[in-house]
């Protein structure tokens, strides 16, 4: 009798053990399913973010009339101001935003002040853009720069002179180049970037009256290139940085993709270069 009871008990315990292990495996599988779902959604968010960012980058490269390049510790910008293509860029950007957001409710694209074509420079944390209201190219947080070259080209502009109104000696090489189809004028000074810098590119050479281009840097770290009289020209700016690598240029507009139900979100700027 006792043997029978023991036999039954052993079988019963074996069965319970087997059931317990099965439930454990099932639970693990359910957990794997949940992780796989989250992984798949994270991949989807990444894909969306990448495709939208690439679309915005394509629009920028085609319609911004800004050429940007990065070479080791140097960033260069070349743009025609004022550009006739900005309207196409703005309408393209906004149209793409509405196209995406109408199909993907999880995607939000920031289109505030799109027309200024604001760029973000990483890791130096600078912005480069053209303020339409004030007709100025603006570079803010203008620090940690070892070399600056600014050139202005217009085929038929008179080249009068370069007038340095306020400049302090320092260690940063600053080159200004003023040129047309037949001649050019270049000056280089070693300046102190922490001090005020103020100079003009003057087409009539008188040094008086309204300058055509006004370069100004205040001590607050903002550098401005003021364009007067609707002067349309090609502006090239090259910045070299101290001890900086991995320079990247982004369009300073955020693309946000988020699925709040699963707490998955990605916010990023489209990378240009």
């Amino acid at each position: 009798m006792g043997k029978g009871v023991v036999f039954t008990l052993i079988f019963f315990l074996l069965g319970l053990t087997l059931l317990g292990l099965t439930l454990l495996i099932l639970n693990l599988n359910q957990s794997t399913d949940n992780r796989a779902l989250e992984f798949a959604l994270a991949n989807r968010v990444q894909d969306l973010s990448d495709s939208v960012s690439n679309g915005l980058k394509t629009l920028f490269l085609q319609y911004s009339d800004i050429f940007v390049y990065v070479n080791n510790n140097q960033i260069g910008f070349q743009e025609t101001l004022t550009s006739n293509n900005t309207g196409n860029y703005v309408s393209g950007f906004n149209g793409f935003k509405y196209f995406i957001e109408s199909k993907e409710p999880y995607v939000k694209i920031d289109n505030s002040s799109v027309g200024d074509l604001k760029l973000y420079l990483s890791p130096v944390n600078m912005n480069y853009y053209f303020d339409v209201n004030t007709s100025k190219i603006i570079i803010n947080n203008f620090t940690n720069v070892s070399n600056i070259t600014i050139s202005v080209y217009k085929s038929n502009i008179n080249i009068g002179g370069i007038i340095w109104r306020s400049v302090s000696n320092g260690s940063v090489s600053f080159t200004v180049l003023f040129k047309n189809d037949t001649s050019s004028l270049q000056q280089t000074k070693n300046i102190d970037l922490k001090q005020v810098l103020d100079l003009s590119l003057d087409s009539d050479g008188s040094g008086f009256g309204t300058a055509d281009i006004d370069l100004n840097k205040q001590s607050n770290g903002v550098f401005e290139v003021k364009i007067f009289n609707g002067t349309s020209a090609l502006y090239s700016t090259t910045l070299s940085f101290n001890n900086t690598s991995g320079l990247k240029v982004y369009l300073d507009r955020f693309v946000n993709v988020s699925i709040p139900e699963f707490n998955i979100s990605k916010t990023s700027r489209p990378r240009i270069v």
């Binding site: 019963f12 069965g15 989807r44 495709s51 995406i100």
Partner: protein, 138 residues
């Protein structure tokens, strides 16, 4: 009389023992069946399915970056697809750009796992989308 009682006592014990064993084995088989049922309900290997979707996503991304999607050229899309995905897989791509579209046309078979996704792109001032479905060839 005493012998008959002994015989009866041992016979009863044997019956009870047999019944007891029968019940124990029955209970064990029931539990085993339940376990097998639960295990059979477990899903397929998710990681390989995710890998399939990633393959499709990467393929479409390469086509976007190289301008193949924007071309709306079905033969070019098929050719690029065949270069990028292993021969064990098949993929259908449907591209829409404005009012135009391009479709590789191959429909996936029924009853197998199908990975799918979508990518958006720009061509000039037109906006497009590319849907893909990818599966393991049977």
């Amino acid at each position: 009389m005493h012998k008959r009682q002994q015989k009866s006592h041992y016979g009863n014990k044997a019956i009870i023992f047999t019944l007891d064993m029968f019940v124990a084995i029955t209970v064990f088989i029931i539990i085993l069946t339940v376990c097998i049922f639960y295990i059979s309900q477990m899903s397929q290997d998710r990681l390989s399915e995710l890998q399939l979707v990633s393959l499709g996503s990467d393929t479409i991304a390469v086509m976007d970056y190289s301008g193949v999607l924007q071309s709306l050229d079905v033969s070019q899309i098929i050719s690029t697809r065949d270069q990028l995905i292993p021969s064990a897989y098949n993929m259908r791509i449907l591209v829409k750009l404005g009012n135009l579209s391009a479709d590789t046309g191959n429909l996936p078979p029924a009853g197998i796992f199908l990975g799918s996704g979508k990518r958006y792109f720009v061509s000039g001032l037109n906006y497009g989308e590319a849907d893909y479905w990818i599966w393991v060839k049977v």
